[in-house]
């Protein structure tokens, strides 16, 4: 029979362990759904499946095969092209839109903000279907109505233009979303800085270079890093837009190639290797970007 003293001991013990119990669900789930799959996939990179029931240790063969695989290099090039398109086209447009919609002279700001933000609410599958029609070589809106280039361009049939078409679709879909981050950053800049600069005779461009951009540095760092990670993980948009990367793998991205190997070719070891190489690429690029943008610098 428990004495009153025992009960007090239990209560004291319970109080000691309670915090760990409260945080345990997160760690258990994290271990099951993150740590275990990560370790498992790393181990898988050194094996290759033999059908559904057995696997064979292949050492570093998957890695050496990958670096000699022309489709992997092509998919890496395509993905990098998209990432550069995001960096050099999408983000400047997002920043420009944010500055425009933060300006005092623009009317109907709320409506315009909503309008620019709306594309991100549309599912990637629908975006791909819509742009498939827009890019059509002979019946599409761009070639048929605008005749921008004076001739039919095979946006989705000529390998040269396929990734450009994907980049432009990405701009339409994501520029408004990134604009919101820049807008929040712009609204956080103190007006006194601009007023002081104006008193000192600074023009708009000088204020932009010396006040706006430095003040936006943390926001720019966040948007650039997140956009780069998203770009390197690109999958659904080109998969549907290019019918699985066609023609001639011109629309194949790294994640699409990973998917094909894992789920269509049943080469799970090779797919795991692609996944880890992608992880390393993203980690290096992200750290490099953060360093370049001075995020690790002590103020």
């Amino acid at each position: 029979m428990k004495t009153k003293r025992d009960r007090y001991t239990f209560w004291n013990q319970q109080q000691k362990f309670a915090p760990y119990l409260f945080i345990a669900p997160f760690f258990i789930l994290f271990a099951i759904f993150m740590v275990y799959p990560l370790i498992s996939s790393l181990i898988m990179g050194f094996y290759e499946m033999r059908g559904f029931k057995s696997r064979i240790f292949v050492g570093f063969e998957n890695f050496t095969d990958l670096f000699q695989d022309p489709i992997f290099w092509k998919s890496l090039l395509n993905t990098t092209y998209f990432a550069l398109g995001t960096l050099l086209l999408q983000l400047p447009i997002a920043l420009f839109l944010a500055i425009l919609l933060n300006a005092k002279f623009v009317k109907g700001k709320n409506f315009l903000r909503l309008a620019f933000f709306t594309p991100v609410l549309v599912a990637g599958v629908f975006v791909a279907i819509i742009f498939n029609l827009i890019y059509d070589q002979r019946a599409g809106l761009i070639n048929n109505e605008f005749l921008l280039f004076g001739k039919e361009i095979g946006w989705l049939s000529n390998p040269r233009y396929v990734m450009l078409a994907v980049i432009l679709t990405g701009v339409w879909q994501w520029a408004g979303f990134n604009m919101i981050f820049f807008l929040a950053g712009l609204q956080g800049i103190r007006q006194e800085l601009y007023e002081a600069a104006a008193v000192d005779g600074a023009n708009w461009w000088q204020s932009f270079i010396h006040i706006t951009l430095p003040s936006l540095r943390p926001v720019i760092a966040f948007v650039v890093v997140v956009s780069m990670i998203g770009s390197f993980q690109l999958f659904d948009l080109p998969y549907i837009l290019t019918n699985g990367g066609e023609p001639a793998d011109a629309g194949t991205t790294i994640v699409m190639y990973l998917y094909k190997n894992g789920f269509q070719f049943m080469r799970l070891g090779y797919a795991a290797t692609i996944g880890w190489v992608l992880f390393i690429i993203i980690a290096i690029i992200s750290i490099a970007q953060l360093k370049l943008l001075g995020i690790f610098r002590e103020e």
């Binding site: 290759e48 499946m49 033999r50 059908g51 559904f52 029931k53 057995s54 064979i56 292949v58 498939n132 029609l133 059509d136 070589q137 002979r138 019946a139 599409g140 989705l156 049939s157 290019t242 019918n243 066609e246 023609p247 001639a248 793998d249 094909k260 789920f263 269509q264 070719f265 049943m266 799970l268």
Partner: protein, 456 residues
């Protein structure tokens, strides 16, 4: 009457008490013993049209099997990935499943005894079904000496053409017998209508980005990517000559246009058809059904003839696409699953209904004499399309399945595009392709310690 317990006294308040009560009630449902008298069958499909057909016919099945609860689930395009995961993890696979022809290869990898589907050959043989179906249609679903699935369809291919526009070009399509005849006729019908130097009207639309139309021609000619023994034969003379012919339709004869959009069922392609930019297309039965439902405004404008042959008296059709039904090894009651499978695939009334809704010709020969299949089809200006398909059905070429089909098809797409765009000659493209696929297979065999022998 007063509630005997004051909810406010519950530790942490009223809200958590309500949640606890709901949780306990849910547990009663979750852990309640299942009705042992009811048998469960889970049936996965990926095509909405199949789902609608089976859903409508399940009540009929239940009248003869009232104790069977069939859970029919349509997962759409992601179904094959879900099935792969379930078979890999040895958990969660359905009892019965339909698999698409380009997806089945991946499920055949590894030891044949470890394939996740039940071998249906013993049941088919003992019940005499093999003779009642078109035997060549088992090849996509067979590997080694095992049959892992029953064909849902035949999918014979015809040449669908715009009768009005060919007649306007002074071409009588019913007189065409061979591909040489077709080229002569097509050159008359391919025209620059407005005199701007650009061709506005092409005699045929072909997919130059994927293997679909090239394989149509290659299978018709008796070739393929793999032979019955699993050998790579895509660099055979017949395959090279066929690709040379295929590319000549675009580059030399200039009578073919690449498919508008991503594939033949793309809205852009339909738009081009309506605008009279495309005069003909190689169409399997399901594609005619698709056109009928997606572009009803073109009713009466199309006609169909057998595919032109490679030589006089040669095969006048090929096969494109397909679905199988199989029983997974995770099924606990294969006998019951077999009964449902027979109801779905071998029931005459069900197959006639399928033709009426989708124009898909059944592989069960006993259904071919049905009146519905002889009826004139309004969409084709009153032509009895079913009769043409049934006439062609016995000629269907085999399409041998292989575990490496997915990789092979992916690389074949690139080879075809390279040949059509003249980056490589057809011989270079196919020789290189065959070497790649052979090296992939050889590497696996080396890893697995298999002496390279024919697997079938």
């Amino acid at each position: 009457m007063r509630f005997p317990y004051d909810p406010e006294n519950f530790p942490l308040g009223k809200g958590p008490m309500v949640m606890l009560i709901l949780f306990l009630i849910s547990c009663l449902f979750i852990f309640a013993p299942a009705d042992e008298t009811e048998k469960e069958l889970e049936f996965w499909v990926f095509a909405p049209t199949h789902y609608e057909e089976y859903q409508a016919r399940l009540p009929i099945y239940n009248t003869s099997h009232p104790d069977v609860n069939v859970q029919l689930i349509n997962f759409g395009g992601t179904m094959h990935d879900k099935l792969l995961t379930a078979l890999l993890s040895d958990f969660g696979a359905p009892d019965i499943v339909e698999v698409e022809i380009n997806s089945i290869g991946r499920f055949l990898k590894g030891d044949i005894d470890e394939v996740g589907f039940v071998d249906l050959r013993p049941r088919l043989e003992s019940e005499g079904w093999l003779d009642q179906l078109v035997i060549s249609r088992f090849t996509p679903w067979s590997y080694g000496d095992k049959i892992f699935g029953i064909p849902h369809d035949l999918h014979p291919v015809v040449l669908l053409y715009r009768d009005d526009l060919f007649k306007a070009a002074d071409v009588e399509m019913t007189e065409i017998e061979t591909w040489d005849d077709f080229i002569i006729a097509a050159k008359k019908a391919t025209r620059d209508l407005d005199g701007d130097g650009e061709i506005d009207q092409y005699a045929i639309v072909l997919d130059n980005k994927t293997e679909s139309d090239y394989m149509n021609l290659l299978l018709q000619r008796g070739g393929g990517f793999f032979d019955a023994q699993g050998n790579v034969i895509i660099d055979s003379e017949i395959a090279i000559q066929t690709l040379e012919f295929f590319t000549s339709l675009f580059n030399e004869h200039k009578i073919a246009t690449p498919v508008y959009g991503t594939w033949h069922g793309d809205p852009s392609n339909y738009a081009a058809m309506q605008d009279g930019k495309i005069l003909s297309i190689l169409a399997p039965d399901w594609y005619v059904g698709l056109l009928q439902s997606q572009v009803p405004q073109m009713s009466g404008k199309w006609k169909a003839i057998s595919m032109p042959a490679w030589e006089i008296g040669g095969r006048r059709t090929t096969t494109r696409g397909g679905t199988m039904i199989g029983i997974t090894k995770q099924c606990e009651n294969p006998d019951l699953a077999w009964e449902l499978l027979k109801f779905t695939y071998f029931d005459r009334a069900s197959l006639i209904n399928r033709y009426e809704t989708t124009l898909i010709i059944p592989p069960l020969k006993a259904a071919w004499d049905a009146e519905a299949l002889k009826q004139p089809l309004e969409y084709l200006g009153g032509q009895p399309l079913g009769e043409l398909f049934i006439e062609l059905a016995p000629e269907l070429p085999p399409r041998y399945q292989n575990p490496y089909w997915s990789e092979a098809a992916d690389l074949l797409n690139d080879a075809i595009f390279a040949a059509v765009t003249q980056k490589q000659t057809p011989r270079q493209a196919l020789t290189e392709l065959a070497e790649k696929v052979r090296s992939i297979i050889a590497k696996d065999q080396e890893r697995w310690g298999i002496v390279a022998t024919n697997e079938n």
